[in-house]
Symmetry: C2
Subunit: 131 residues, 2 copies
Amino acid sequence: MAGTSTKPGTPGDQAAPGTIVGPQRELLDQILDKWGQLLLTSLCQQPRRFNELKREIDGITQKSLTQALRRLERNGLVERQVLEQRPIAVEYRITPLGRTLDKPFLTLLAWTADHLAEVEQHRDAYDADNR
Amino acid sequence: MAGTSTKPGTPGDQAAPGTIVGPQRELLDQILDKWGQLLLTSLCQQPRRFNELKREIDGITQKSLTQALRRLERNGLVERQVLEQRPIAVEYRITPLGRTLDKPFLTLLAWTADHLAEVEQHRDAYDADNR
DNA sequence: CAGCATCCAACTGGATACTG
DNA sequence: CAGTATCCAGTTGGATGCTG
């Protein structure tokens, strides 16, 4: 909604270049959340069954797991395969598209690894001032 | 908290390698959210005043803006400078640490740019099936 | 101008019970 | 096993009014 009228004479009113907005922002929200990231990383290793994931992720409820898996499946990052067995068995697998997230994830992981200590120092300093 | 005891013999029970958990996950949550990302990108261009940001970001409320700025400041990504003027003026600037987020952000932006169309096709297919 | 404080509606996510 | 459905407490975030 913002910046649709690119009115000249009002510089600095539009979004900055490199800003992630709109559909791209929404997409990131669907992928970068806690459970989505954990599930994708887990499934990158090997296919898993529903309850395997539930046990592995630790802390996730069945409701959240279902929702997260559906969202990933809808975006084409994860595939759902119903195995013909009794009782019923379902397998979730990463898709080639899902695998392309590996690089962005590793970049983020590297950033946190590189700067977490520094961030924590800033936090301590900030909290000390506002004590 | 999970996976602290890397017990052999229970394969698949720990978090997958590359998984972002704990303090690192929490840090990403503080930075990658909608307002945080928009603010950091904006401030990467030039310093801004409080109401400048409020006007530019478009959609953010004063409360959310204050909260987001405080959070970024606490993590050492943004600096708050009170200018000696009347009426009071406050300037927010990106820190060197904040600038190091440029590369991760660009990686994410590149990923969404590269794959958004494909994701949207998957969504359409998924929604068509479940109609 | 740059906030803080408060109220409240909407959404999120956990716990629980039930089904093919 | 792999879910769906429901209830409900806690959190989020917008709107509003006030201050130095």
